[in-house]
Each structure stands twice: as structure tokens, then as C-alpha cells.
Symmetry: C2
Subunit: 454 residues, 2 copies
């Protein structure tokens, strides 16, 4: 009998985070001040982030040490397991070898606590009393609630209204770890009230929720803001996943030809892929990394590479990224964590330089992929995770057609235990597609007056 | 930094199940034919169970080999981790050392797949096409749905109405793995129709759902029935948990003084404790095993030791067990998996012989214990699991009062991801207690005319 799991011991939890900035041939352009259009310095971020995280945001050091206190909390679920998906391979009758790295073992059920714990730690170091944040599907909010609980910091979560309504149990989970949760848009902020005035039934979006959380942080000097994806320091923290995976693939005597990961803002994708891209940079490997995004929110495959705001209201600096426009409100698909208009600047630059790839999938295709996964590998994936699985299945089928064996590594970033309503919608035939017309995308982008890049 | 987890490799998944029957000083009395009151032979069970499982039910062999096909599926989540609960110890400021064995890593989220996989395997061996079962909280139904999926067997689940209403996502989970789910009492069976005629709003009970599932199995020769607890072969299969835990405690250089586990029908409790009781039998160790039951369904602490039916309608043989009477309908507490009137015959005999202990807890005490656990150890436990945690906390506090260090091992049998509605009820102050008066218990037992024991 062959082993299904490749496990590491707690001693093998990475001791450093990997900063891909150091290895990128073209560094990302600097963020701009929206008013002056001049590059901003780190100080501009000080009202919303602690200096420890700002230093990481702009660092070009290749390796950044992980404090012991953080690694000690990581031990509650890390290292996470890697599996060989023998049953899925068999069901697809493919010569491909499929592996998955499973982050659903974290108490919050996804990869998000890897950065939440780190962010809470650096906030605590600087005496921060309260952290605000946004959450889409609830995975990020749960992770930050958990992290703040460990460091005795208050946690205030703005949850995108449609997810708040679809997934009430995520709220209870956050409450259990001591966080307060508000549906966004809310009447607690100027930003929220402005949106509600235009549309009292707004389903919300990550962009709106970010505006609300930032506004709350700026109002109070003891309050900071925390983001669950997009930013460089967030992607940095997630590289523990890929570093473990590199070791685990070595233990399996294998190396991925293709890595697939869902794409929302970039932290999920970066977490697994960056440490493998390091092998491309350092050792000339040719590992393909594919970011899987929803067809209803296709910033990587159909967006523009230009400066845009990270939030809807325009409170952030202008960031150089692939974007659908900061006013874009994605259709209410069930993969709430992928409903974001832009892409992190590191990932955007890598895509621009053709060092990574992107692919869009329809919602129903993703649920079909997830259900096949559940029936073969037993774990029911989060709707976000289904996007990566959909890409992997396409690639495995291509291997079969071509009669070629390739090694595919999937980022199974979370379980679907809180997403059964989405599966129910699938089973009852209530899922619809939300493919965007060229005109819709053009209209959303036409509202921007920010600089194009490249 | 100290390790939190004690992990085993897949090679260390037990190769045999441990049958405590071989070591018990007093063997359980035989099941009786309800009509003749004569002992029944194994053949009487043939209409509802495959012979492979019946053989295990009556076996007195100490060790029973686990087929490779079963161990291969176990590898999807086994061996399960053991944790040292450093954070909980610190919060309780106790000299006690607390460990927990975590079965929530299974794809169904509890220990139940350990026996579900085995049962589906033996049914498949004998050409069974469909398996029926009951489920309370949904954990057992999910586990059997998963298991039947792997063996290509149809799965039909009767889910206790109150849980069906409280936990709709458990149903979707079962559907995802291909099972059909019906609320019980249903109009699909005589048993269900009879109950509905008396009370159209019956919240249901495990006893009623068992009657329905058995009736469906008896009707069709290609259909068998499967039970998730109580019976000897079910307890047998769960001993993989305790066998792993014995190894893990050895690796930790420790031995539990006290083992605590929630008690519904016995499989959870037996799974962890029997392999440790073996050490008591063989090596004269004095490990205390405490079964933690709800105060609203206290068969071990306030029931009678006598013959009774395993189901409500009276379709099973008469079993020698601690019982509150087979017509007892427990209050609608949130630990649905513990709402069962009786106790398995192995555990009943062990309790009668004072080789194990039992303790009852109120519902609110259990949720408080679970929330403290979540805030320290990060995992949000299932409401059933909270009962074992409540006992462990009592014992840890006793250690503090007495200034004595003891080693306590908790069976954390599942996560609470599907039980957030229960936690919400706690937070919103809607939980009530359901302590039974002496008269209520006496009335329920007065309906029995079956033999008392001992």
C-alpha cells in the first residue's frame, strides 16, 4: 500500500519567509499618492499599518525571519499535509500525477491564519488595541478573529453583505473567537453610508468593505487595519505553504510541472507558488504556475494593467495592478473570496512579465470539479478552492489526450464546511453563470483616469 | 519551542482491531428474542447485517485483522493527530497535563468514518446494494455517505427531525457524497407513520430513526442496515483511535491517569478508552476512563441496567444495557449525537463492573467548556465533544485544588463546523437546561416489562 500523505514534523515549519521581490527581474512600480501621482514612501501607510508590517511591505531582503511566537502558534496546525490524489487520478484515467497541499487543517479552515497570526503579532508588538478588517466568504475574518484572540487584541470585521447573508455560521465562528462582525455596507462609516444611500440593497463587495475597515482604523490611533490578501507582506507570510510544499515534493521524489491555485487577491496563489518560482529563478527550473480566477471576476485574464485603488472608495494609494476598475462589483458568485476587482502588485508584475499564467473558469464547472474531488479524495473543497481543481482537471485531461505524464500540484486552500449552501444551490440547479461582456468590462474600466502601465 | 502535536506515519495505522470482549472479566449477557425471551444466535441478525459484521459482533477473538482495503481508505485522514493542550493548561492554571486525540481531521469531521468504511466494506463483500441508517447530529450519516461512495453502494439516511431542521448543511454534505436523506419520523415506513399519527410535530429521536432504517432494510433482500454506535462491531472498529493514542502517549513519554470521552451509544468512548483498558487488564495499570453524558439523557448515571430494545418501536433484540427506556425521547439539546436512550452492551457491563466511570453535564456548562477550548486550542469542538472537555476541565481544576499533577487525555471526537447554530443559541442566551426529575425517569422506565440484571 502506497502512502497518500507526505507529512513534515513541527521542526520543519519554515524559519523564514521568502520575499520574491528579491528575485524578480522587474520590480513592481511604486504605489502613488492619488492626489499628487508621486510615489509614496512607507510613512504614508503608517496610519493604517504597524511599522513592522510596513517594513516587510517594502523590503527587498530575500529572507525574513519568522519570530518564534508566530511559529509556536503555527504549530497548532502546521506543517500542513500534502496528499497524492491517487483516487482523482484514477477517476480521470490520466497519466498525470496529481498532488494537493491542504490548508483546510487550520482551525479557521483555510490558509488565511498564516498571515493573520503574523499580522496580529506585529500589531501587538506596537501596542495596537483593535484591528479592523473586511471579509468576503468569511475565511479571512475568521482567521483574523482567531489571531486577535491569541494576542488579546479586539477584532472588528466588515463582512460583505451577500456573504453575511449566505454564511451566517462564519459570523458565529468569528464571535466564538471573540470578534465583532458587521455586514458591509454598514451605517458605521461614511463609506458605508454613501454606498447605502445609492443602493440600500447593495450586496457589498470586498472593495467597499475595505473602505469601511480602513475608515474605522484611520479614526482612532489605537486601531489599525489588516488586509487578508493583495499586499506584499501578506503574500510574504503565506510563503510558509510553498516552502513546506517544496520539501514535501522532494520527499515524494518529484517536482511539479504545473502548480495551480485559486486567485482572489494573490495570497493563496503566491503562498504556494512563490517558493517554487524561486526554483525557476535560482535553478532554471521551468515550473508553470497558473492562477485560477472566476470568469465573473477576470482581472488577470481580461483586466488592464494600470494604476488603480485597492478599495472602492479610493482610500488606498494607487497600486500598479491588473484590475477591472475599483468600482467593479462582481456578480454574487459563491466563491466570495475571489470577488475582488484587482490583483496584488507582485503577482501583477509577474503576470505582465509572463512568469506566471492565468485562467478563468465558470462557476458551474468549478462546482463539478469540486464534487468530483469530494467523491474521490473525500474532502469537500471551498468554492474558491474548486477553481484550482478545475484548472488541474483540465491539465490532467490534456495529459491524457497528449499521452504525456506531468506532475500537477493543487493548492487546496480550504474546506467547504461553511459553504454547503453553495453546494445546495448547485444541486438544486439554482447556480447561474455570470460571464461578462466586453462592454461591461470596458465600461467599468472607462471610469478610471489613472495611468496605464507598459 | 515544545512540539504541540504527536504524529504517526501511515505505516502505524493499526493492523488489527482490539476486541475487549476477550479481556472482560464478566462477559455481557446474550441478547434475547423479545417474544420468547430466549438468547438469540447470530442468525437472527442476518436479515439486517452482513455475516462478516455479525461474526465480529459475537467474536471473542482478542485481535481481528483490518483488511488492507479499509486501511488504505483510512489513510485519507489517519493516523489522527494527538495534541498537548498547553494553552488550555495555562488558562486553567492547572498542574494537570492535558492531551487530546483529534478525530475531526476526517473528511466527515468526526470519528464515525472509522466504522463506516469498515461496515461498507463488509457489506460490499456480500453484494449488498443499499445501506440504510439513522443519524442524529448528522455525523454518522455523513460518515456512512462517504463510505458508501467509496464502495459504490446506495445510502439512505433517516435523520432525526430536529437535527434535520437545525443542521441543513449536514444533509447537503451527505448529498455531495451521493446519499439520500429523509427527516425522521418520515412517512416512508410503518414505524414513522405510527409516530407521526401520535405526534405530527415529533422532533424525532435516534430510537425512532433506527426503527425506520431497520424496517427499510428488512423489506428488501439487497438492502442492509448499518448502525453508527452501540453494537460490539462498531465499538471494535473504533479501537484504531485508542491504539494510535497508546502509541502517541508512549512517544510523549506519558500515560494518561484519566481518559474522558463523550458518551452517546458508546463508540466514541470505546474507541479511545478500550485500548487503554487493555493496559489495565494486561499490565495492571489503573487508568480511569470516564464517559461524559448529557444531564438531559443520563442513561449511565441515572438509568437502569436491564434488558431493553435498541430502538423505539422494538424491532431489535433485547439487549442487556443501561437504559432510560426505549420510549424515552430526550430533550432537544444541541449535542444530537448523545440523544440516545441506551448504552452499548460492552460499555454497560464495564460500568456495572465498575471498570469505567460516568459523569453527566448540563448543556450550558458544556458550551462554556467548548468555548474556552476554542479560545485556547483554536479548534471549535462539536457539541458532543464539549461533554468530554467539560469533564476534563473539572478534573484539571481538581488537580489544582489538590495540588496534584495528573495526565488527562480527551477524546476530541469532532469539530463544530456544522454546529455553529448551537453556538449561536448559546451566545444569544437561548440555551436552556433539561434536567430530568426522578419522576420523569421513573415514568419512562415503568413502561418496561423486560428483565432487570444483577
Amino acid at each position: 500500500m502506497k502512502d497518500k500523505k507526505i507529512l513534515l514534523s513541527e521542526k520543519e515549519i519554515p524559519e523564514k519567509w521568502y520575499n520574491i521581490m528579491a528575485d524578480m527581474p522587474n520590480k513592481p512600480l511604486p504605489p502613488l499618492n492619488p492626489a499628487t501621482r508621486e510615489p509614496i514612501g512607507p510613512d504614508a501607510l503608517a496610519p493604517i499599518f504597524p511599522m513592522g508590517l510596513i517594513a516587510q511591505e517594502v523590503s527587498t531582503e530575500k529572507w525574513i525571519e519568522i519570530p518564534d511566537e508566530i511559529r509556536d502558534i503555527y504549530k497548532l496546525w502546521r506543517p500542513s499535509p500534502m496528499y497524492r490524489a491517487y483516487n482523482l487520478e484514477k477517476a480521470l484515467d490520466t497519466p498525470a500525477k496529481i498532488y494537493y497541499k491542504y490548508e483546510g487543517v487550520s482551525p479557521a479552515g483555510s490558509h488565511k491564519p498564516n498571515t493573520a497570526i503574523a499580522q496580529a503579532y506585529y500589531n501587538k508588538q506596537e501596542g495596537v488595541k483593535r484591528i479592523t478588517t473586511e471579509t468576503g466568504a468569511g475565511q479571512w475574518g475568521s482567521a483574523l478573529a482567531l489571531a486577535c484572540n491569541f494576542f488579546g487584541i479586539e477584532c472588528e470585521v466588515y463582512m460583505v453583505r451577500i456573504s453575511y447573508d449566505h454564511k451566517p455560521y462564519r459570523k458565529v465562528m468569528m464571535n466564538t473567537w471573540g470578534a465583532q462582525v458587521f455586514p458591509s455596507p454598514s451605517d458605521r462609516t461614511e463609506a458605508g453610508r454613501k454606498i447605502l444611500a445609492m443602493d440600500p440593497n447593495s450586496p457589498g463587495s470586498l472593495g467597499i468593505a475595505i473602505s469601511e475597515a480602513i475608515e474605522r482604523a484611520v479614526m482612532d490611533e489605537n486601531t489599525k487595519y489588516s488586509l487578508g490578501s493583495v499586499l506584499n507582506h501578506v503574500l510574504l507570510h503565506q510563503t510558509v505553504i510553498g516552502q513546506e510544499a517544496v520539501k514535501q515534493m522532494e520527499m515524494a521524489g518529484d517536482l511539479p510541472d504545473i502548480i495551480v491555485a485559486p486567485f482572489g487577491g494573490g495570497s493563496n496563489f503566491a503562498g504556494l507558488s512563490f517558493p517554487f518560482l524561486r526554483l525557476n529563478f535560482e535553478e532554471g527550473k521551468k515550473i508553470r504556475a497558473i492562477a485560477s480566477e472566476p470568469a465573473s471576476c477576470p482581472k488577470l485574464t481580461r483586466g488592464q494593467f494600470r494604476y488603480d485603488f485597492g478599495d472602492t472608495i479610493g482610500m488606498t494609494p494607487l497600486l500598479p495592478m491588473y484590475t477591472l476598475g475599483h468600482n467593479f462589483v462582481p456578480a454574487p458568485i459563491h466563491a466570495g473570496g475571489l470577488r475582488y476587482h484587482g490583483a496584488g502588485i507582485l503577482v501583477s508584475q509577474l503576470l505582465k512579465d509572463k512568469l506566471i499564467e492565468a485562467r478563468a473558469h465558470n462557476q458551474i464547472e468549478c462546482f463539478e470539479a469540486g464534487i468530483l474531488f469530494a467523491k474521490t479524495e473525500a474532502i469537500i473543497p471551498a468554492p474558491e478552492a474548486n477553481h484550482g481543481i478545475a484548472t488541474a482537471i483540465q491539465e490532467a485531461r490534456k495529459c491524457k489526450e497528449e499521452g504525456v505524464s506531468r506532475t500537477i500540484l493543487i493548492h487546496l486552500c480550504g474546506h467547504g464546511n461553511f459553504d454547503m449552501g453553495a453546494y445546495e444551490a448547485y444541486f438544486s440547479g439554482k447556480l447561474t453563470e455570470h460571464e461578462l461582456t466586453e462592454k461591461e468590462i470596458a465600461n467599468s474600466l472607462a471610469e478610471l483616469d489613472t495611468p496605464m502601465i507598459g
